[in-house]
């Protein structure tokens, strides 16, 4: 039967360092509930992160946990998965960590269909370094390094990861925490690379600078600004501009790298035996 999420928390370190109302906590909560529903034993789960507020999550989790360097979590996770394919390797990354400095590792892990689940905690900003713009900061928004408004365009991470070859791609917001948790659950059970973009909120930097109100207002805004993929498909691009499209964008079953490499080992052994 399903476990309690308390079995997965290193309660002695709580309360966590995140600010009051930080969406990262809601995403982590959704992740733990997904793992609990899957009834995964603590020893079988490995959570790897990079650097940033989001990346501080593993310290609070009673799994095999690894807090690495900025942007590189997926590459570390790749080594872990290859060395021990029995582990459920889950990467927790921020929008800066995973889409900027770590973007290359993300697309290549997707292309390889590496057996790693990546949850991107997208708060539209660099939280830990106090509010600079990220590749996921929407155009026009303010940031400490975009005092006149962000002139860059933001990535659509789900389109990017889908195009790169992942087996599972979905997006939800913290205002859709149940749906988010379900997507994460499906991601973990996917063989091959799985990606979930969790759109959250950073009240301290993104919210304050852009005058979006407190945590409650930000969560409510996420709910209001979201539109399902199915609904979006019926509208023309002008109508969905600025909306967050949520839903599952891809579920595939292409063979994963681990499976394919098992085949390499077989062929190599055969060749060596000759």
């Amino acid at each position: 039967m399903a476990r309690s999420i308390d079995e997965y928390l290193r309660a002695r370190f709580m309360p966590h360092i995140w600010c009051p109302g930080c969406g990262h906590g809601i995403i982590l909560n959704a992740l733990l509930r997904a793992i609990a529903r899957l009834d995964l034993p603590n020893d079988k789960v490995c959570v790897v992160s990079g650097i940033g507020c989001a990346s501080r999550a593993p310290g609070y989790l009673d799994f095999n946990t690894l807090h690495t360097t900025h942007g590189r979590a997926i590459a570390f996770a790749t080594g872990i998965k290859l060395a021990n394919p029995d582990l459920h390797v889950i990467v927790v990354t921020g929008d800066g960590d995973g889409a900027a400095i770590g973007g290359n590792h993300l697309i290549h892990a997707a292309r390889r269909n590496m057996g790693v689940t990546t949850i991107m905690f997208n708060n539209s900003i660099y939280g830990m370094t106090s509010g600079q713009y990220s590749p996921l900061t929407p155009s026009g928004r303010l940031a400490t390094t975009a005092p006149y408004g962000n002139v860059e365009r933001n990535f659509d991470m789900c389109e990017l990861v889908k195009a790169s070859g992942a087996n599972y791609v979905a997006r939800a917001t913290v205002a859709h925490a149940r749906q988010l948790s379900t997507y994460i659950e499906r991601a973990i059970t996917t063989s091959g690379f799985a990606f979930v973009e969790a759109v959250g909120n950073c009240p301290t930097y993104f919210g304050r600078r852009n005058k979006l109100g407190g945590p409650v207002e930000m969560v409510e805004a996420l709910k209001k600004n979201s539109i399902t993929a199915a609904a979006a498909a019926k509208l023309d691009p002008a109508e969905i501009r600025g909306k967050i499209i949520i839903g599952e964008f891809y579920r595939g079953d292409a063979p994963g790298y681990i499976e394919l490499y098992d085949g390499v080992i077989e062929r190599a052994k055969e060749a060596a035996g000759k």
């Binding site: 966590h16 969406g23 990262h24 394919p85 925490a177 948790s181 973990i188 969560v219």
Partner: protein, 85 residues
């Protein structure tokens, strides 16, 4: 865990973890929760609780738990673990 008010309350707030963000209070469909003088969540109207678990799921700090669970889990059905490879 420290219960706010009624020890029979279906919902408990772990005050030492609660950061008083107000999310649970705003999201509760039955207005069961209120803000205590120190800003933390308070179970003000336990009898109105429908055990929907929204507060628990939305809390960023793992600080509020619905102890009297409904028979059916609110999260959607379990996925089969396909080895996760």
């Amino acid at each position: 865990m420290i219960s706010a008010g009624n020890p029979e309350a279906p919902v408990l707030v772990r005050r030492e973890w609660c950061k008083g963000c107000g999310i649970c209070i705003a999201m509760c469909p039955k207005k069961v929760l209120e803000s205590a003088p120190d800003g933390k969540a308070l179970v003000a109207r336990p009898d109105d609780c429908i055990k929907c678990e929204t507060c628990e799921i939305m809390c960023p700090d793992f600080a509020i738990r619905v102890v009297a669970k409904k028979a059916a889990a609110p999260d959607q059905g379990r996925e089969a673990v396909r080895g996760g490879r």
